[in-house]
């Protein structure tokens, strides 16, 4: 055994109140094993990690109870069990970075922008070995970069972080953490902010390094697919407590605790199974396409120089053909930067297309002036990804819903419009009383539902859903997806569902289009595209998705 946490409690002072972030948890990690801590946001898993590292600010946090016992390896070699919570600050500094290392979720901001990559790795080395001379430190830093498979490490070592991509920065973080050969690596959602292909590589790298160095990993995540790649044992956390802790296989197939069962049931793979029942799962086939797109392009000019001449074009969307029939859901999948968000907004002419034709319900809308476009705006709507910025914080829900109705002339007077608004709220599983509240009083999931309500209130035929569930927890996501399917059935809606999450695609959509670098590389019925992909990019993409072995 390497680490044993015993009844750990961490209390935080937030705005004058005491929050029991970690409320009595116990777990252990053996040498050489990977242990996962799973939970949704607010469960306390990050605070647990920070407690082990003792990185919480001392004046707002305290540990009223518990022990964190770690088998500390002295520089000379002998081992000693210590309670991290009782150590002096000097000894904690000796452990941090050298025996227990940590990597974080946001690679873009975790490196100091004013120092080179090499400087930062060398600093880690010199902190724990002040005798180390410059040349040797540099050698070891280059070796560390090489180990995490950064090409041309001898040159890259002098680069500043802003020259590296997100994936590369995360590799540098790993190199920095591993340079001192720690016994335990704590990884707090290290791949959540990365593309799925990059994620696959990083996970593989971590497993590789672990095997080579015999290191233990405490891996924190909310994604069961990732857990399946990395660990055999896991613990599920909720509201500061561990509700269930067992092997992966047991939890996936025989969850005991109601919360765990709820979580497992909400997995997209499991949702897919339950989809077969009920007419809501089926989208009707055939009929005239509601939306037809031909040769759509959106190019942004790149301007440089004093006179701002256009030197190049960014081809965000490069000649896309699409069609969606009434009542069908088309999923648009791709990694970050592929142009799917731009395409979604271009369809609604929130971004002006540079070329191509958009036809809606038989009429060409791509060239229309603003005034003539207005009636179409009623029938085509959009819901956004970010629950924070998608609602105007100054307006009540009522104003937000009623104003569009007024502009389009729906409803005879305000009372009628209020009634319609209330009905719409009920349809998205919210209460009519919520009409008079402000957005800041709702949770993320509720705000997304309000966004959908705003789209629904005009009775549209077509809605673009731009990564609507990407910012939500798994269980909330499941509810929202089920709600969307129900609405689609009730209202015969056509949806363009933009996402990067393949699991969701398989559950929700009838057809799938895969997008890469502004182009659609593959398109077809979802079952076919996901089961038997033809295009090499699609194959790579699907292979990289971490699957839950159910």
């Amino acid at each position: 055994m390497l680490l044993r946490v015993d009844n750990l409690k961490t209390h935080l002072q937030v705005s004058g109140e005491t929050v029991r972030a970690v409320d009595g948890i116990s777990f252990h990690i053996d040498e050489g094993e990977t242990f996962c801590l799973v939970g949704e946001s607010g469960s306390g898993k990050s605070i647990t990690a920070l407690s082990v590292m003792q990185l919480l600010p001392p004046h707002v946090s305290r540990h009223p109870a518990g022990r964190i016992e770690f088998r500390y390896r002295h520089p000379e070699g002998q081992r000693e069990w210590v309670d991290i919570l009782q150590l002096s600050e000097a000894r904690k500094l000796g452990i941090r970075g050298a025996r227990i290392a940590m990597i974080f979720q946001e690679p873009m901001t975790s490196l100091n922008p004013v120092f080179t990559v090499g400087d930062q790795i060398i600093e880690a080395l010199q902190l724990h070995d002040p005798e180390l001379d410059e040349a040797e430190a540099r050698e070891r830093a280059i070796a560390a970069l090489d180990q995490v498979r950064i090409p041309a490490p001898a040159q890259r070592i002098d680069d500043y972080p802003h020259r590296l991509s997100g994936g590369q920065r995360q590799r540098v973080m790993i190199a920095m953490a591993m340079a001192l050969e720690p016994d335990l690596l704590i990884a707090d959602e290290p791949t959540t902010a990365l593309d799925v292909t990059v994620q696959a590589e990083i996970l593989r790298l971590m497993k590789d390094l672990q095997r080579r160095q015999g290191m233990s990993i405490l891996f924190i995540t909310h994604d069961f697919g990732v857990v399946s790649q990395m660990a055999e044992r896991l613990a599920v956390m909720r509201l500061g407590q561990i509700v269930e802790s067992d092997s992966l296989e047991s939890i996936l197939h025989r969850p005991q605790h109601p919360y765990t069962r709820q979580l497992i049931a909400a997995l997209p793979e499991n949702l897919k199974r339950s989809r077969g029942q009920g007419p809501e799962g089926r989208g009707q086939r055939g009929g005239e396409p509601l939306l037809r797109v031909a040769g759509l392009s959106v190019h942004f000019p790149v301007k440089q120089g004093v006179l701002r001449r256009t030197v190049d074009q960014v081809r965000a969307v490069d000649g896309v053909d699409l069609q969606i029939e009434r009542g069908r859901i088309l999923a648009l999948v791709g990694e970050s930067g592929c142009g799917k968000t731009t395409l979604g907004r271009a369809l609604l002419r929130l971004i002006e297309p540079t070329a191509g034709r958009i036809e809606f319900d038989g009429q060409t809308i791509s060239g229309l002036p603003a005034r003539q476009l207005r009636p179409f705006r009623r029938r085509m709507q959009i819901v956004f990804q970010d629950p924070i910025s998608s609602l105007n914080p100054r307006l009540t829900v009522a104003t937000m819903l009623i104003e569009p109705m007024k502009v389009h002339g729906l409803g005879a007077d305000d009372d009628e419009r209020i009634a319609v608004a209330e009905r719409t709220l009920e349809r998205v599983n919210m209460e009519p009383g919520h009409l008079w509240r402000y957005p800041h009083e709702f949770s993320g999931g509720q705000r997304q539902r309000l966004g959908i309500a705003r789209a629904l209130v005009l009775e549209p035929r077509f809605i673009v859903c731009d990564e609507v569930t990407s910012a939500l927890d798994v269980s909330v996501q499941a509810e929202l997806l089920q709600m969307l399917l129900k609405l689609r059935y009730e209202k015969d809606l056509a949806l363009l569902f933009i996402t990067h999450d393949i699991g969701v695609v398989e559950y929700v959509s009838d057809e799938t289009a895969v997008m890469n670098a502004g182009r659609i590389v593959e398109r077809g019925p979802t079952d076919r595209v996901c089961g038997d992909p033809q295009d090499p990019y699609t194959q790579r993409l699907l292979a990289a998705v971490p699957r839950v072995p159910l």
């Binding site: 990185l55 970075g97 290392a101 100091n112 600093e123 902190l127 500043y160």
Partner: protein, 449 residues
């Protein structure tokens, strides 16, 4: 940069041209008291420079041509005679001083620059030391106290400080510790540059006094406990207050012998209570220095010649304080918020996770990043400093550009006013440019296009 420069000239000229009466009106108003010949000469002068009968845009072009170092040259008959790259900038003549403006400015601008350049480092040093400490001690006594004091200091208008400083410390009514006006005494021009003591004996005594004072002070600051420090300093402060009240001429302030020692004891005692080692060491060491010098001065035998340098510094002391306090009050709050933000950043967390002690995180990582907004704000400090110099120079009778500007406005000396505004705009632009360059050097993310 260039369009902004041109824009400044347009704005400045437009103000003048738009005024009632146009360009030459002010001179003519003033010139009403002149004899006909002088008035005629003035009219000719203006006609030569601007072309009084031409429409304003042409006048502007003529003026621009005069002011810029590259341009057309004119002959006697006021026609274009050629184009020269080395014409030189003709800023006109100040009719009040009877000299070319360029000459006047060459005399005065360096003085203003001296004042400002002395203030800048002072501002930054004090602001950083207070701001960083406030950020690391967030919410505690030093932070709350310094925030309020800095906000109050920032709110005190420069004029008030200047007036109070002169009134109390540079006048005959209270303490005449500092000179009343100007940048140096007339005698100083004859003095040697460095201070000069009469005999080696004096130098030794001075050295002993200074060394003894500083060493004792540092010992007190580092080793003495809180009680010892505050009591010793309070006694010292009380005694200094008593001495100060003894120096007051006249008997009008009866309360002085009671009030001043109490004030002195409170202030110095308070310094003794500070828990900020850096600031406390510096303050107590300087108190020790002054005490040491004062203690041994009566023992010195021969005359002491101040020297040009010391004299200059003595004259500059009050004006520089007056000019910089509002700058460092503002900057210290900015430093505090920049440091706070960076202390909570992700990369600071990474540094801690590597095992870096908090002091290293602060001074190596956070400080370096916090400097960036401070450099940017230097560009905004400059206009403030230039404005402040106008007031400070007027109060302390220092012959700089600012004082010249005020007098020019009072005298309706149009050429002078225009040129000064133009030059101040140029200085500002230069400052922005330097700040931009410094930022590009400091932040590797920025590439200078």
């Amino acid at each position: 940069m260039v369009p902004t420069l041109v824009g400044i000239t347009v704005v400045v000229f437009a103000i003048m041209a738009a005024s009632p009466g146009g360009i030459s009106s002010q001179a003519l108003v003033e010139g009403q008291n002149l004899e006909p010949q002088a008035k005629k000469a003035l009219m000719e002068y203006y006609n030569r420079r601007y072309g009084l009968d031409d429409p304003p845009p042409i006048q502007y072009l003529r003026w621009l041509n005069n002011v810029s170092p590259i341009g057309f040259t004119f002959n006697e008959a006021n026609e274009i005679s050629g184009f020269s790259l080395l014409k030189g900038s003709d800023l006109g003549e100040s009719f009040r001083y009877g000299r070319p403006v360029a000459g006047l400015l060459a005399d005065r601008v360096p003085i203003t620059l001296l004042l400002n350049l002395l203030s800048l480092p002072l501002i930054y040093v004090i602001a950083i030391s207070i701001g960083v400490r406030a950020a690391t001690q967030r919410g505690q006594a030093f932070d709350v106290g310094s925030s309020v004091i800095m906000l109050a200091l920032w709110s005190v208008p420069t004029m008030l400080t200047g007036v109070l400083l002169i009134g109390f410390f540079a006048s005959d009514q209270y303490w005449h510790w500092f000179p009343t006006a100007g940048l140096s005494e007339r005698e100083a021009l004859d003095m040697p540059f460095l201070p000069h003591w009469g005999s080696a004996h004096d130098v030794l005594i001075l050295f002993a006094g200074v060394a003894g004072g500083v060493v004792l002070a540092l010992l007190l600051s580092r080793r003495g406990g809180r009680a010892l420090r505050s009591v010793t300093l309070a006694l010292l402060g009380g005694w200094a207050g008593y001495l100060m009240s003894a120096q007051l001429p006249g008997a009008d302030w009866q309360a002085a012998p009671l009030l001043l020692p109490a004030l002195g004891a409170a202030v110095l005692g308070g310094i003794g209570l500070l828990e900020y080692p850096g600031l406390r060491d510096a303050a107590i060491a300087s108190i020790g220095l002054v005490t040491g010098i004062l203690a041994v001065t009566p023992l010195m035998e021969e005359a002491f010649v101040r020297g040009f340098l010391l004299d200059r510094l003595w004259h500059l002391a009050l004006p520089v304080i007056c000019l910089s306090y509002s700058g460092f009050a503002f900057l210290s709050r900015l430093t505090r918020s920049a440091v706070l933000e960076n202390l909570l950043s992700d990369y600071a967390r990474t540094a801690r996770a590597k095992g870096a002690p908090e002091s290293l995180v602060l001074w190596r990582h956070v400080f370096r990043n916090s400097l960036l907004p401070l450099i940017t704000v230097a560009a905004t400090l400059l206009p403030g400093l230039l404005m402040g110099s106008v007031i400070v120079e007027s109060i302390f009778s220092i012959d700089g550009m600012g004082k010249l500007a005020v007098e020019a406005v009072k005298d309706r000396d149009s050429e002078l006013v225009l040129s000064i505004t133009l030059i101040s705009g140029l200085l500002n632009l230069a400052g922005y440019l330097i700040a931009d360059l410094a930022y590009a050097l400091a932040d590797p993310r920025v590439s200078y296009e």
